[in-house]
Amino acid sequence: MLSRIAESMFWIGRYVERAEDTARILDVQTQLLLEDATIDQESTCRNLLSIMGVEGEPESQVDITLVLDQLAYSPTSPVSIASALAAARESARRARETLSVPMWEAINTTYRAISSGHFHAMRPPAIFQWVRERAALINGTADATMTRDEGWHFLMLGRCIERADMTSRLVATASLAAGTGAPWTGTLRACGAYEAFLRTYRGLETERGAAEFLLLDRLFPRSVVFALNRAEQCLDNLEATDRRAGFQNEAQRLLGRLRTELEYRSLADVMADLPNEMERLQRTTALATEAVTRSYFAGSEALTWQGVRL
């Protein structure tokens, strides 16, 4: 597979997942702000923006309208759902000939809702529902129509790395709001994990339990450990060589170390400084992305001819 196409597949996976997870995070947070009048709107919104990686401190008053604009509607904000979906479509356009027609149309019609203004006309929470449904359609179509070749592994790799990253952000938003109301319930709901969590923990709702479930559960597909496991598997599939000792792939090393560290440290230790731990996790996934780019996509940037015409 061409490096350039592999890169596009990787980023389709990431952008679609990013749009979906951003919608999930926003869904919880807007719900919380609505339900609980005691929450300080200003600081919650500021925290949310910083967790989602919005650069620079906005000077004017920060409220939910600004947050929604920055994280959902604005096509110029790099962290918004709109720009993630547009970027997913742009990546798909570059890999157009390798995608199945249904897959391309699922992505293209999603993007068309943005360019036609339909997306901007939708309001919360309907818009978050819509984004989740479109992501499910794209992922489901990929699952049903893509051959399990390299392209698929790169798509999955992108999706899993993004999911680990975004779940960590989701956990960080929950920990920030700790002590006010029941943020963990909302967070679990945002992942669609609430019922699974209740059954696993026999209805015993604790912050510790919820964090454990979202970070460490080996069976729940949106937990950080599950996503990292999957990402490692994808890298394993991509590395064709039979190796006897250790790991050669830098990305695999980074992700493996990250996962084992999470799994083998005591939860109390991780919980003690959850926001910073989560930030560390996000930094590692960024490093892993760089490593993947170096080992698989390198050289696909344009070159200039420096020679002299004879």
């Binding site: 597979m1 061409l2 490096s3 350039r4 196409i5 592999a6 742009e90 356009r93 570059r94 157009r96 000939e97 390798t98 027609v101 391309w104 149309e105 293209n108 019609t109 068309r112 390299e150 991509l238 064709a240 698989y296 050289g299 696909s300 940037e301 344009a302 070159l303 200039t304 001819w305 020679g307 015409r309």
Partner: protein, 539 residues
């Protein structure tokens, strides 16, 4: 009686392909009878569905960086079998002549020595590339893909307007148009016998594989695109997808030790045939424009060494130069010893002093075209130009007469077209596509009909607001109108007496196992049975 075509008036001297004054021309009989019952609102509904489907599928082209749906008119253009046979043989003849001409130009140049065409016509062409001299393609083919633009004059005769043997585009729309129209007018399609166009990618792939360098048995074919911002990117992606080959950009390629390689996740892999959709000038910064980022340094040398095949070949531009076009009838006679099947449009070469004098006198009646322009660029239509424009043109022509040709204003034929809620005559041209695999020139039955959507407009290029039409080439002889079709009479063929007629083996239908019902379904049926029993007992 007809709700749809009522009030349609074909305009002026142009040949209308559907109506001969009030009478319907035969190819369109079925089309009209099947559309007669359709009302305008129904048609508008279908047109909207058509446009939405093109946007969803991403059938678009770029104008100045903006992506737009490719405009497709809902009414098809119909071409009868006989007419098509002429077009087909004319295109084949033309491509064969162009191949022979190119082979000669880049080799011995017998055509110059025999005085058919002056050598300076070629030497002064901006598309003549010495880099291509003495390169002999593996299977002798230089024009793997060509698009010969045809128009229909006032008498209804097809004539050649120009040849495109560099990188002709538009074939993807022929295929997507057919699919879209099949969805929009399923009943009408069903009533016609239309020759399919979907086989094009397979033909192209076969031709590209046949052109592989000697000794390569299982060649790797790629499509080279300038990138996602190119106007025809949609087409490049569609061709790569339907041929099942990689779509590469210049940065994906690298020349190593006389081979072209592509960068993959598994390292460098060799490439044997490049169907390139990048212009000559941008292919290789070593030989052509040094600032080009679209090609790959070293590609031309690799091609010269015979290790990679470029399709179409480099330097083909000399053959579709508009000045060479004026010599084409002679070129056909010279190489093939045949009369041209399709005539040229009358053309004056402004390089000839006599012609120049005549043309300059009649500048306001003629169409002037730059010889190396494409996409309708630089064309001046005399009757529509203002005085200052004509004066400016006169100066330009006198400065560089070699760069201009003149033609009479040809009224392109018209076909009913649905624009802004009503039917009206619009001018069309036709670009049939031909694929040469070295043994045979195959002409795609259909081709791209481009239509000028503005009333009276004669320039059909999509960059100038043109649209397209699905082009139906009918299979089989013309059929009388459906009303008069008699019931077919079956004649049994006599069977020799000593031989029992072959009867198909007794076939028993395959009994498949019923789908296994899940517990939910079986429980439901059990419950129902219980309920029924319960209901029976008290009686």
């Amino acid at each position: 009686m007809s709700s749809m075509f009522e009030g349609y008036v074909s305009s002026g001297p142009a040949y209308d392909e559907m109506f001969d004054n009030d009478a319907l021309r035969p190819p369109y009989l079925r089309l009209r009878s099947s559309l007669e019952t359709m009302t305008t609102p129904d048609l508008i509904g279908r047109v909207e569905a058509l446009q939405a489907s093109y946007l969803d599928q991403g059938v678009t082209f770029d104008i100045g960086g903006e992506e737009r749906a490719f405009p497709l008119d809902i009414l098809p253009r119909v071409i009868e079998m006989d007419t098509w046979t002429t077009i087909e043989s004319g295109v084949q003849q033309r491509v064969n002549a162009l191949e022979a001409f190119l082979a000669d130009v880049y080799d011995a140049g017998a055509v110059f020595d025999d005085g058919v065409i002056p050598r300076e016509v070629i030497a002064t062409s901006s598309h003549f590339h010495r880099e291509a001299a003495n390169v002999r393609p593996a299977n002798g083919v230089r024009v793997h893909v060509s698009g010969i633009d045809l128009i229909r004059d006032n008498a209804g005769e097809f004539r050649v307007l120009e040849d495109n043997v560099r990188v002709p585009s538009g074939v993807s729309y022929v295929m997507t148009n057919r699919r879209a129209i099949s969805a929009a007018l399923p009943e009408t399609i069903a009533e016609h016998r239309i020759r399919p166009v979907a086989g094009y990618p397979q033909r192209l792939l076969a031709a590209l594989r046949a052109a592989a360098p000697a000794g390569v048995t299982d060649p790797t074919v790629v499509v080279l695109t300038p990138g996602v911002y190119n106007g025809a990117y949609f087409e490049h992606a569609l061709l790569a997808r339907t041929m099942g080959v990689e779509l590469v950009e210049g940065r994906d390629l690298e020349c190593r030790r006389g081979r072209v390689m592509m960068r993959t996740t598994k390292g460098l892999e060799p490439v044997h045939v490049i169907y390139r959709r990048v212009d000559d000038e941008f292919l290789d910064p070593v030989h052509f424009r040094a600032d080009s980022m679209l090609g790959c340094p070293g590609m031309i040398d690799t091609a010269r060494a015979g290790n990679v095949t470029l399709a179409n070949a480099v330097g083909n531009g000399v053959a579709d130069d508009k000045l060479v076009y004026t010599y084409l009838p002679d070129i056909i006679r010279y190489y093939l010893n045949e009369e041209p099947v399709l005539k040229n449009v009358d053309t004056w070469r402004l390089g000839d002093a006599d012609a120049r004098e005549e043309v300059l006198d009649r500048l306001d009646e003629l169409v002037l075209k730059p010889v190396d322009g494409s996409g309708g660029k630089g064309i001046v239509i005399g009757p529509r130009a203002t005085k200052p424009e004509l004066d400016e043109l006169r100066v330009k022509v006198l400065e560089d007469p070699r760069s201009w040709i003149a033609q009479p204003v040809v009224q392109l034929s018209t076909v009913p077209t649905f624009v802004d809620g009503e039917l009206g005559p619009r001018h069309v041209d036709l670009r049939p596509f031909a694929v040469n695999d070295g043994n045979r020139v195959w002409v795609l039955p259909g081709g791209l009909t481009r239509v000028a959507l503005a009333k009276g407009e004669l320039i059909v290029n999509s960059s100038r607001g043109g649209g397209s039409k699905d082009t139906w080439v009918l299979a089989g002889p013309p059929v009388p109108a459906p009303v008069t079709v008699p019931a077919p009479v079956l004649v049994a063929e006599p069977v020799p007496a000593d031989e029992p007629p072959p009867s198909p083996p007794p076939s028993s239908p395959v009994r498949s196992v019923p789908e296994s019902a899940g517990p939910a379904i079986s429980e439901m049926s059990q419950q129902q049975e219980q309920q029924q029993q319960a209901a029976v007992i008290p009686c």
